[in-house]
Structures are given as structure tokens and as C-alpha cells.
Amino acid sequence: MTRTRFHQGLDDLKQKLLTMGGMAEQAVERAVLAFQNRDVSVCELVLRDEAHINAAEREVDEMAIDLLAMQQPMAVDLRFIVACIKINSDLERVGDQAVNIAERVMDMVNNPKADLNVDIPRMASLSINMVRDALNAFLTADVEMARSVLERDDLVDNMNREIFEAADYAMTHSMETHRDAIDTMLVARNLERVADHATNIAEDVIFWVRGADVRHHAQM
């Protein structure tokens, strides 16, 4: 193997991005836990850790830019670095969504709970699994796993629509709990965005491995 330094740089970039992925995933898990238990102390953990994710985003960008500037990557290596830059941005936004959820929960503890027939934990677990599988696909260059992430996005979109309708119904029928209904609707919206970011990551993995652009339902 030649170009040892370059390949070491690519490995380091991948490791750094996976570490960041773990942080973003954990942030969403914690935010959902805070939602389930209406636990402000867990919300504060999420807010605190956002700074680490933001710092990791800057580091990943710097590593990727240095590799582009200094190693003249071609073909699969070029696609890999471009994919990393895009995945980096999606992971940072996953972290932002976790913060948004935590902020909703901090509002919710002050208000009476709405009687909503919605399953946020299930939606959360679908979204988090999509992020996890997208990152695993990135780890192992697994196109099939990436595709399975894309297929699950509709499920989460549908749940988001159902929760929207349920919140709308609750708001029109019980004014005292309308704020809790709004917060719940926004949490669902944030989780739907998390799934969108997982979808983007999966698309970037396919672009890296296959060189195929599958965004916006283009043919694989």
C-alpha cells in the first residue's frame, strides 16, 4: 500500500465522524428520555453536550478540508471526503434537533399534560434507529443497509402527520392543555427532521460507495 499518510488521514476522518455520530445519537436518546419522564436535569445534559457536537463539526470540516487541499483525492476517496462533509453537517443538525426537543420538554413541565393518543417513544425509536443504521452503513460501506434507512422515512413522516392531527384535535377540544399539545407536535416535528437527516446520511453513503446520486427519489 502506498500513500500511507493519506490513507491514515481518511481513517482518522472516518473515526472522528463516527465519534460525532455517537454523540448526536446519544443527544436524541437523552432528549426523548427527558420527554418521557418530563425530566429537566436530562434536558440540561443535552444542552451542555451540544457544544461538544459543534466543536466536533468544526474539527471534521478542518480535517476534510486539509485532506482536499493537501492530498488531491480522486474517485472513491474524493466521494468519501465530500460525503463526510455533508454527513458532518447532518449530524450537527441532529444535535440541534435534540436541543429543540429538550427545550420543548423544559416548557412542558410548566403546563398541564394534554390527553393525546400518540406514540412519541415509538416514533423516536424509529428515528434513532435510522440514524444508527445510517452510521453503521457508513462504518461498513453497506449500501443495502443505507437503502433500508431510505425506505423507513415514509413511516416516520406518516407518524408525524398523525401526531399533527391528534394535536390539532386536542387543541380545539381542550384549551387548558393546548400548549402541551403544541409542544408535543413540535417534538414530533423534530423527530421527523432527525429521520430526514438520517436519510440524507444514507444517501451520502450510497453516493460514496456507488457513486450514485439517489437524492430526491432519483433512480438508484
Binding site: T2, R3, T4, R5, D66, A69, M70, Q71, Q72
Partner: protein, 253 residues
């Protein structure tokens, strides 16, 4: 031993033409420093001043200070030959001694210096060839094959082994890969990366991508002046001087 290179107000002339103007920089030890710049910018002249080779050409002159470790190489009574033992050099075109065997090519410098112990010589030849990543390819034919029988890339690594055999502190490389194909170039670049663990390496290259790939520090020369010297990452992502930016982005040169 510290083998950083301190260059202070270095000027060099060819006849009445001044090739270098007041160059001052600190080349850190055990790192790779690349010298880049367009043709005629003085980059080769600069490295040839680091082992007193510039003065071997007719009508040339050098002024200023070059201190390697604690040795002032232009100091009174310092012989150019002793400097070249501490500062090895590899040139653009591989130049093995064509009639000598691979073994003798590597051993030549030591033999010239009166080094006679056969067993130690064998050990140094092997060590140097290993450091130059050539040992495995030539170990069967060390004394049977001539240096000239090797491929271009192998010949260049042989020249690197020859330079390493005298155990220098500094290795100067003037366009060491510009005559080689991409695979041989990649091998030389990997090798340079390994060598910096033990040596201070200064590489002249007109291939700035190569500088970006191998060097820790980069100096940009233009018309005999040092325009910018910084960490390579900085030079190739956010250079401080507009002229550096214009050169590395291909807007002139």
C-alpha cells in the same frame, strides 16, 4: 543532536545576478520542509546554499548565515566536504555510479572516508537500503547487479540509500520524484514521510501537490525572495500572502 537549520540574511549571486535576496527562516529538525515556487525563483539555489554546493559553480558568491545544529557552515575553517557528510543530497535525475554494484554505490561515501571494517560496512549498507525501502527488492543481487540496471524509481531510492549511508543529519532533495512515474513517486513520498523521524528533510519541488502531500512546512519563493513560510496546512488552505494564494491556485506562475 539538534539539526534544525537557521538561515539568516542569506544572499546568493551568479556573477552579477542576485539569485537570493535576504532569506531568513528556521527549518525545524526532524520535519519535512518543502520549497516551492516557479522556475527561476531561487529554490534550487537556496538548497544548494545549505550544503555549500552553490559556491562550486564558477562566478558564484554567497553571503549570510546558515547554521545547522550548532555548526556555522560558512564559518572560518569549516570545510565544505565535512558539511556534505552532515548534509546529504538527492538530485532530480537518479545518478548512481553506473559501473559500481548496488552494494558499492551505497558504500562509496564511507569507503571514500577510509571506512574499512567489512562487517560494519555490510551492516550499514543493509540499514541504509532498508531505510530507503529498497532492501527487499535488491538483497539477492547486491554485488551482482550494477546500480544502473535498476529501474528509475529504484535508482532514486538507491541514491537516497547512498546519501543515508554516511549518516547525515539533514537530507536535501532537489525534485527527487519529477523524473519518476506515479507509483515510484508515491513510494518516494512514503519514504520521505518515514525519513523525517530521523532526519531533517528539505525538499525542492515544482509540484506543489507533492509539497502539500509530504511536507510539514512549506516555503514559497518568488524571484529570489521568500514570500511566505508556514505550516503546510495553513499554506494550502489559508495562505497569508496574496502572491502565495495566486501561485497555488494557478493564477500565475
Amino acid at each position: 543532536m539538534n539539526a534544525g537549520i537557521h538561515v539568516e540574511n542569506l544572499n546568493a549571486w551568479f556573477g552579477s545576478t542576485q539569485a537570493l535576496h535576504n532569506i531568513s527562516l528556521e527549518i525545524p529538525e526532524k520535519h519535512v520542509t518543502a520549497i516551492i515556487g516557479p522556475s527561476g525563483c531561487g529554490k534550487s539555489t537556496f538548497v544548494r546554499c545549505l550544503n555549500r554546493m552553490h559556491e562550486t559553480l564558477p562566478n558564484t558568491r554567497v553571503e549570510g548565515k546558515v547554521i545547522i545544529g550548532d555548526l556555522d557552515i560558512y564559518g572560518k575553517g569549516v570545510s565544505p566536504v565535512s558539511i556534505r557528510r552532515r548534509v546529504g543530497m538527492v538530485f532530480q535525475k537518479p545518478n548512481p555510479f553506473p559501473t559500481m554494484s548496488i552494494y558499492d554505490n551505497v558504500a562509496a561515501g564511507l569507503k571514500l572516508n577510509g571506512f574499512g571494517n567489512r562487517r560494519e560496512l555490510d551492516a550499514i549498507v543493509e540499514k541504509s537500503l532498508r531505510q530507503a525501502a529498497l532492501w527487499d527488492e535488491v538483497k539477492e543481487n547486491l554485488k551482482k547487479k550494477s546500480g544502473a540496471s535498476l529501474s528509475g524509481g529504484q535508482q532514486q531510492r538507491l541514491c537516497i540509500a547512498r546519501a543515508l549511508a554516511v549518516e547525515p543529519d539533514v537530507l536535501l532533495m532537489d525534485e527527487p520524484a519529477s523524473a519518476l512515474d506515479p507509483i515510484s513517486t508515491a513510494k518516494i513520498e512514503d519514504l520521505i514521510f518515514e525519513l523525517k523521524k530521523q532526519y531533517t528533510v528539505v525538499i525542492v519541488t515544482h509540484n506543489m501537490q507533492q509539497a502539500a502531500r509530504v511536507a510539514d512546512f512549506t516555503a514559497f519563493f518568488l524571484m529570489g525572495n521568500l514570500v511566505e513560510f508556514d505550516k503546510t496546512e495553513k499554506m494550502f488552505t489559508t495562505p497569508s500572502d496574496k502572491r502565495t494564494e495566486d501561485y497555488i491556485t494557478g493564477r500565475f506562475g
